[in-house]
Symmetry: C2
Subunit: 283 residues, 2 copies
């Protein structure tokens, strides 16, 4: 792997910042707020930030870069797809439970639901995330989708995954803003009491986590190599160089498995493209 040390440093930083975000969300609700419970009170609301940060941000972030971990490159692609889908399923469940906690809390206190921009964007993100998971499962995990369809949908899957991830972080930042404005009084938010500084720092951690994940996910040299084609090509004396130049943000369009020509340069590139699009269906 090119730049292995740099990758490792970024991975450790991302894990550290992500883990710290989860710890910060727990300290927030246990030290500054009413802890956790499930009784329609503030303790139930508090599941919202904790599960959103843990599931919808930290676990989603890990799910995005799981194909990039070089230690997994000897595992089968199918296994990695299951891990990617599994992590995203866990994230989705936690996101939904975090939402239920807020609805329950609001209903118990007769507070209206889904009026703020935070809730509009957060709810939209949950819906798109579930759709993304369902479509990803149907197209890339189940064996029924034809290769051209996979190839056409792959760049959209990657792009929408990263965009939803960014939108979720945006929603979290709005949520922090709302909660601090609602809950701090004497001294209020503008006096910057310790809780405000602490939770602002949580917001900054979330932005740094997002930036690290997006950097790692968009470096082409850290993509999982398409090992099967690489082996075929090496056996006929070709090097699989083409793959390293394609980024995750690149279109992998119009691939076709049926015509496996490996004699010409153009055909070699097309086969690698098929491998990118058809077999390497996600990050």
């Amino acid at each position: 792997m090119e730049g292995y040390g740099r990758f490792l440093a970024l991975l450790v930083s991302a894990l550290l910042v992500g883990f710290l975000s989860v710890v910060f969300s727990l300290v927030w609700v246990f030290h500054y707020r009413e802890g956790l419970s499930w009784d329609g009170g503030s303790g139930e609301f508090n599941w919202h930030p904790v599960l959103a940060v843990t599931g919808f941000i930290f676990i989603q972030g890990i799910a995005i870069i799981v194909y990039r971990l070089p230690w997994t490159w000897k595992c089968s692609k199918l296994l990695m797809k299951f891990i990617h889908a599994g992590l995203n399923t866990i994230a989705m469940i936690l996101a939904i439970v975090s939402m239920v906690a807020v609805f329950d809390y609001h209903n118990a206190r007769n507070i209206p639901n889904v009026y703020s921009l935070h809730s509009w964007i957060g709810l939209t993100a949950v819906i798109f995330y579930s759709l993304q998971l369902f479509l990803g499962f149907a197209v890339f995990l189940l064996p029924f989708a034809p290769v051209p369809l996979r190839a056409a949908l792959m760049p959209i899957h990657v792009y929408s995954g990263l965009t939803i991830f960014a939108a979720v972080i945006g929603a979290a930042l709005m949520g922090i803003t709302e909660k601090l404005l609602f809950s701090l009084s004497n001294p209020d938010y503008s006096a910057l009491p310790p809780e405000a500084t602490f939770v602002n720092c949580l917001g900054i951690l979330l932005v740094i986590f997002g930036a690290l994940i997006l950097w790692m996910a968009s470096r082409s040299q850290w993509k999982r190599p398409p090992e099967d084609n690489a082996k075929i090509l090496q056996s006929i004396g070709e090097t699989p160089e083409g793959t390293e130049e394609e980024s995750t943000m690149t279109d992998g369009s119009n691939a076709d498995k049926s015509d496996l020509r490996i004699n010409s340069e153009a055909a070699r590139k097309q086969n690698l493209k098929f491998d990118e699009a058809g077999q390497r269906s996600t990050m």
Copy 2:
């Protein structure tokens, strides 16, 4: 250009959504708020959302995709760099003026400055944006930076540009949340009066604008072709195919102009990479 019709449809949508966002910010301050003035009152504060949306989001977004417009591909690269830098300079000035308006307003009313997460991330974004502009100017516009340095910094320039753009939209969403919570009472935000619905829609427009710009900026097939190298290569019978496979999110590392070998496949790729990194220094 591959997929010209799709590009055009997306460009028109982005322009429409961006323009609509500016109109929404103006309707917000003129129809629902106190209009615009520069006297330390609410009218001065109102410059903040208007200039942030117009400059820091709309104009920045256009600056990001300006290299992608196929009609500009016959213009010199240097001219396009000036336009890219010029638009970003205008965006930076408007962002700074929008910030001054808030400081002025806060100081006139003895409201503390820079306490909220919105202000922390917004201010950080302005600082990073100015730094990005300064470094971009020094490395990619002035003729002094060696090609390997340009090549090494190009992917960072692209990545940080897009990340700052996303962070600015995140800051705007927090700003909207803050302002609606502060200014709406009887009925307040949770009753969703017309102003709240209208400004929530402005937030949604900003997210859609950001998503459109990020899609257009990350499609490799819509990059400006490196015409000089293409001409050289065509004159010796080679086709410049390598360029289309490199995305804007791809590392363009380790290029070196001094050794211009164009006989071998590897050297041809390296030369194209140099062109990407050295001459095509921005989006």
